[in-house]
Point group: C2
Chain length 251, copies 2
């Protein structure tokens, strides 16, 4: 992760917002306060505040003093990337704790999702993902065996699995995501530090190869007080069709 001053200033304020130390509506320290706190010039301070504004965490600017707008981070769907890359991209520190990696026969639901016969060996990974050391998401990922076996040679706690697999030539170009909500089970509850039954934002993802073969199926559960998904779209000029004519990239 980029260790420059503006990133460290932004990371510090982001951590204070996400931890609840700075609540919604609270004033963010002023430019001059931040300059003296960090012994910094205006440049890096303004850059840090600009980053937090573009993440939607703080408002203000154009003369208004900055205040906290919300305490969760949106993950734009316009970008399709790994959790690690996404967190690094918003200036946070991604973390991961691999709880299990196992080769086992596919059960019925996983076999169905991956288009395999029940009992075919697959590689399954259970990982806790963190933002700035805070438990944020649980990943239950199943890889087809020829792909998953590559992970036995990789330290899954060292960084992005997807970057590693891409370096091995495994880079599924297409994914389908289904998003819903589920109640936290006991595993979710203890790892994400929330009560059993608390609502979680779930993304189930099926990634397929160039030839359309399923490669990976994942059930990812996010704490909705930390992460939400955002999408922008634009309607056609012909409302009867209501199809998307153009799509803007979220900032």
């Amino acid at each position: 992760m980029d260790d420059s001053l503006h990133n460290r200033i932004a990371a510090d304020i982001r951590r204070r917002i996400l931890s609840g130390d700075l609540q919604v509506g609270a004033a963010v320290p002023s430019e001059s306060q931040l300059c003296s706190q960090w012994n910094a010039s205006r440049g890096p301070v303004r850059q840090a505040l600009g980053a937090l504004r573009s993440e939607g965490l703080i408002g203000g600017g154009r003369g208004k003093p900055p205040v906290v707008l919300r305490q969760s981070i949106s993950q734009p769907f316009e970008t399709f990337m790994s959790f690690s890359r996404w967190v690094a991209g918003i200036g946070g520190t991604p973390g991961q704790r691999t709880l299990e990696i196992a080769r086992r026969p596919a059960d019925a639901s996983v076999a169905d999702a991956l288009g395999l016969t029940e009992g075919t060996p697959v590689v399954q990974l259970l990982r806790l993902r963190l933002i700035d050391s805070r438990p944020t998401m649980i990943e239950r990922t199943t890889f087809i065996e020829p792909v998953g076996r590559l992970l036995f040679d990789f330290d899954c706690d060292s960084g992005s699995i997807y970057a590693y697999l891409a370096s091995k030539g495994i880079d599924p170009p297409h994914a389908n995501h289904v998003i819903d909500a589920v109640a936290a089970d006991t595993t979710d509850s203890s790892l994400l530090e929330i009560p059993t039954g608390a609502p979680l934002l779930r993304e189930r993802r099926l990634a397929t190869s160039v030839s359309g073969e399923p490669v990976e199926y994942s059930d990812d559960r996010y704490r909705p007080d930390i992460v939400s998904f955002s999408i922008e779209n634009t309607e056609s000029a012909h409302p009867a069709l209501a199809r998307i004519a153009e799509r803007k990239t979220a900032s």
Copy 2:
């Protein structure tokens, strides 16, 4: 809604799947059973099964007997349209029960979302939305007053508010959606017929005019056992960027 035979056959099977009468993995009645049940030829029966397959509710085809794949309906984000139009598009019958329409001063959170001063009059709508008479979603929508006042001349239970507003020239071309999960409150619980605290899939939407002015802000809560959102995307050939090069429309 289209009352043709294939639509009625599809609606009947869809209702049986969504109600749990046909569980995941259960066999869907065969073509010949459906032909004799409906006194129909193969054409409409195949058309009905094809529609359910494209919605992802049933599998099979190519010689395999159809079975139920899942009991919730995906709402593709590639199409930006009203709930009514979406439900009609998948061959269901959309319904609505308007519980309240009120002109009142904007509270702090709504004023913030719409960029108004707190206390500015707005028009707020609380509606229960149904698919095939089943409570599916609760809409809490706030319109800026010049738009919302048009609704006092409209029977909000008669159909799509968005089609009506579009006919009046109000047709915001841009929307930002934020998706997360929340626990059902007592209103959600009684209207959606679920326990208090049950997880709901929430979409918060801010629609803006051509000139970028906020027009409408909505907090929509879906039963996740009935509706989920789906997104397909395609990765660029350059994984380091991980931007979308192309976007397929979900079927």
